[in-house]
């Protein structure tokens, strides 16, 4: 069974479909819980109208399912605020590279 930190680590490989920044660095991951073989990931989105909601949820699920001992992944959408302040320094650096910020 993975630790929450291992789950977060694997989520660093899940990139936003439009920008080469992981969902962690983009500030979308708002909680990880591991209980038995079930991993619960809480996500917020940059906008409620985000066109990539399904893609991101599927990518998160697929990535976490690859970890040993994970039987199920529950992706829960929370509605916490998101703004540029939630992007990590590494995320900001990558976004600057591709000319987004």
């Amino acid at each position: 069974m993975p630790t929450a930190e291992q789950v977060r680590q694997v989520l660093r490989s899940v990139l936003d479909p439009e920008y080469p920044v992981s969902v962690v660095d983009l500030g979308l991951v708002r909680g990880v819980e591991v209980q038995g073989g079930v991993v619960r990931v809480r996500l917020t989105f940059t906008s409620l109208g985000c066109p990539c909601v399904e893609l991101i949820q599927e990518d998160v699920r697929r990535a976490v399912l690859q970890l040993d001992g994970v039987e199920d992944v529950v992706v829960e959408q929370v509605f916490e605020p998101w703004s540029r302040q939630h992007i990590s320094p590494e995320g900001l650096r990558r976004l600057r590279e591709v000319g987004v910020v």
Partner: protein
């Protein structure tokens, strides 16, 4: 007074169902109509903005609909996935058909969107936490919509012969008020249950205050709306 009364079938659940369905359906159809003007807006900046605003309106409907599934309603209300997805829908009638002019589009967006935001503001500190969280995030996202919509109304009405914009605004405002009256009819019950913090009358008054403030800058005379109901 139990704060969970929407979990039992009865007047609170029914009133909440009516309110959420009306707001979500209106956002769904508003999104579809505004999306159509992402092709045809008179400048590309507005075209891009229409596409962005439409996605958010539809996104708001998308997060509100699941609340209906959790309510023990006498007649269950399915989320709209397509325009023809349900026999009965609860949005202003003029949202059901494509808007033929850019004037209709910006007036429709400004008047409907403002009504929806005012309605949801009444739920931002709701005892129903799922509703409160969504309402807060939606109201936050609406700031840009308000600036865009009323900015376009102002730009347009100043270019048009005075009566063109004025008569459409008056007609649409009356239609939105009639719809808002139905949508917020149960707010008294919901207020008593801590689900919202305003009555239907208060919401309509706030709405009119905001619309008047936006229109004052335009120097468009708006007839006093006939009392709803």
């Amino acid at each position: 007074m139990s704060q969970d009364r929407w979990t039992e079938s009865g007047p609170v659940a029914e009133a909440l169902g009516t309110f959420v369905a009306a707001v979500a359906d209106a956002k769904f159809f508003l999104g579809r109509r505004v999306a159509e003007w992402s092709v045809g807006a008179p400048e590309l900046e507005s075209a891009v903005a229409c596409a962005a605003v439409a996605q958010e309106e539809l996104g708001h409907a998308r997060v509100l609909y699941p609340l209906l599934a959790d309510l023990p309603l006498r007649t269950p209300l399915a989320p709209l996935e397509r325009e023809d997805g349900r026999a009965v829908v609860f949005c202003p009638e003029f949202l059901r058909q494509p808007w033929r002019s850019w004037l209709e589009a910006v007036v429709g967006l400004a008047l409907v969107d403002t009504a929806l935001t005012v309605a949801l503001q009444a739920a931002t500190s709701s005892a129903h936490e799922e509703l409160a969280r969504r309402a807060c995030r939606i109201v936050e996202e609406e700031r840009f919509h308000t600036v865009f919509a009323w900015g376009r109304v102002r730009a347009l009405v100043s270019r048009l012969p005075a009566d063109a914009g004025e008569s459409l605004i008056a007609t649409r405002l009356a239609q939105v008020l009639r719809w808002l009256s139905d949508a917020t009819a149960g707010l008294g019950v919901l207020r008593a249950a801590g689900v919202v913090d305003a009555t239907g009358d208060a919401v309509r008054e706030r709405y009119l205050t905001q619309v008047r403030a936006q229109l004052e800058g335009l120097e468009v005379q708006i007839p006093e709306p006939v009392a709803a109901g």
